[in-house]
Subunit: 241 residues, 2 copies
DNA sequence: AACAGCTAATTGGTATGATCACTTGTACTT
DNA sequence: AAGTACAAGTGATCATACCAATTAGCTGTT
């Protein structure tokens, strides 16, 4: 993929489909700066003719790259290259979390543990008062109780605000994709039915205190502990799949 | 009939495209176990009729999910659900690394630093003698010199073997996608022209020693230092984009 | 009966053209 | 001058035909 794109045109690309080749061509155009962020592509009809393939094929290529967050389609207006920023490109990452089951969910949480603890530590070192206040607001939303949906949304916003404060958009996009809403809901429901919600509250509070104290090491360990709690819960409830 | 009648009058699925709805339906079928790993889907013609859409549309949906690593198409044989394992689902992750530039590359390295240091620490705690020997082999391949391509391949194999030894396939797949071959080549060429290759060698050696000593903390810090070295180099050479 | 090779049915891949739906710019109306 | 209506451009969907790869079944030989 990386290596074969630019080189030997015949050997590698001979057997793959027309649409696949079109995908590679467009990717190469972007990688080499021929197509830039925000730029408009030729119309489907023109582009198909230009590449010597049918409209069906170029459409498949365009849709594939749209799925990957590289292109954006505006009905009636044309096809454009996205901003190519991490949050565009990593949107599909969430699909993994959505359809993963069993052991893979545990593995995903381990990834989240590594990333979120690093991000929370970084956030502690550079978070602004305004950002910290926002984190506080989400924390209080969680404490207010309410429907599971509201709790889940507040929970996500809490962690998202922290990770964003770390100043690494790429990491934020990945962490965000790692935990789907349906999975978060499962965790909350599970903790609710077992009366363990207070434990989550405590952990959130500790994370906030570490951030407020601008203590990276405390932030790192409290964040890791929090994800680990979810991890442990999941291991004990894997039978539900 | 399939979509609008079956569920709530969702404002969500009202405006999205036919193909997009088909994608969601297939994903839901997989998430709910209606479609299992390795299972075969109806033929394009049957499936299209079943969902009440055209073959073109179902094809777009199928291709999109193929790109995401969820489905696998076998020409003449049918469409199948993949293993749904992380290495299938995260293959597209590499696209981000391929087309990223500038600041995003730095951010990607920071993600890699967090993940690879965690994975290397885990590997130190559980690596087998056989796995350690494999790591050693790749390390010696790097030391032997040779073409840049060979060095790059050996470098990738070295890190890959370590991350795999951590026992988390998901993390391994992500880390693997984080560093494209073209980027690795850039790093090696850059260090070669500045005579700093020996620094990379030293770092690799230290990582290996930490693994051989089964010392997780040493493994964590040596791995982090190594990625940080690349990170620092990149910051100083961002003008090349 | 067992096996090899060929044939035909099955199924995905591509192409084409028609038609629908959305966006945008422009000319017209008020 | 502002707003509206229209028309051109462009993506969305569909239907159909034909090409290409695979698979299963048949045929023929041994």
């Amino acid at each position: 993929m990386t290596s074969t794109a630019g080189r030997a045109p015949d050997a590698e690309t001979a057997k793959i489909s027309v649409a696949q080749r079109a995908i590679e061509q467009i990717k190469t155009m972007i990688a080499e700066g021929e197509l830039r962020a925000g730029q408009r592509l030729p119309t489907e009809r023109d582009f198909a003719a230009q590449l010597g393939i049918s409209r069906s094929s170029i459409r498949e290529a365009i849709r594939a790259l749209t799925i990957l967050g590289v292109l954006e389609i505006r009905h009636g207006a044309g096809v454009y290259v996205t901003s190519l920023r991490p949050d565009d490109l990593l949107e599909t990452f969430g699909v993994v979390a959505e359809i993963s089951r069993g052991q893979t969910l545990v593995e995903l949480l381990q990834v989240r543990r590594a990333l979120e603890s690093a991000a929370t530590a970084a956030a502690a070192a550079r978070i602004t008062d305004a950002e910290l206040a926002e984190v506080r607001r989400h924390l209080e939303r969680i404490g207010e109780g309410g429907s599971v949906e509201e709790m889940v949304a507040a929970d996500r916003d809490f962690h998202q605000a922290i990770v964003r404060a770390a100043g690494n958009e790429t990491m934020a996009a990945i962490v965000d994709g790692l935990s789907s809403m349906t999975f978060r809901a499962r965790v909350w429901r599970g903790h609710h039915s077992s009366g363990a919600v207070s434990r989550l509250h405590q952990e959130h509070e500790r994370i906030y205190q570490a951030l407020a104290a601008r203590d990276p090491e405390a932030a790192r360990s409290t964040a890791a502990t929090h994800v680990l709690e979810v991890e442990t819960w999941l291991r004990a409830n894997l039978g539900d799949d």
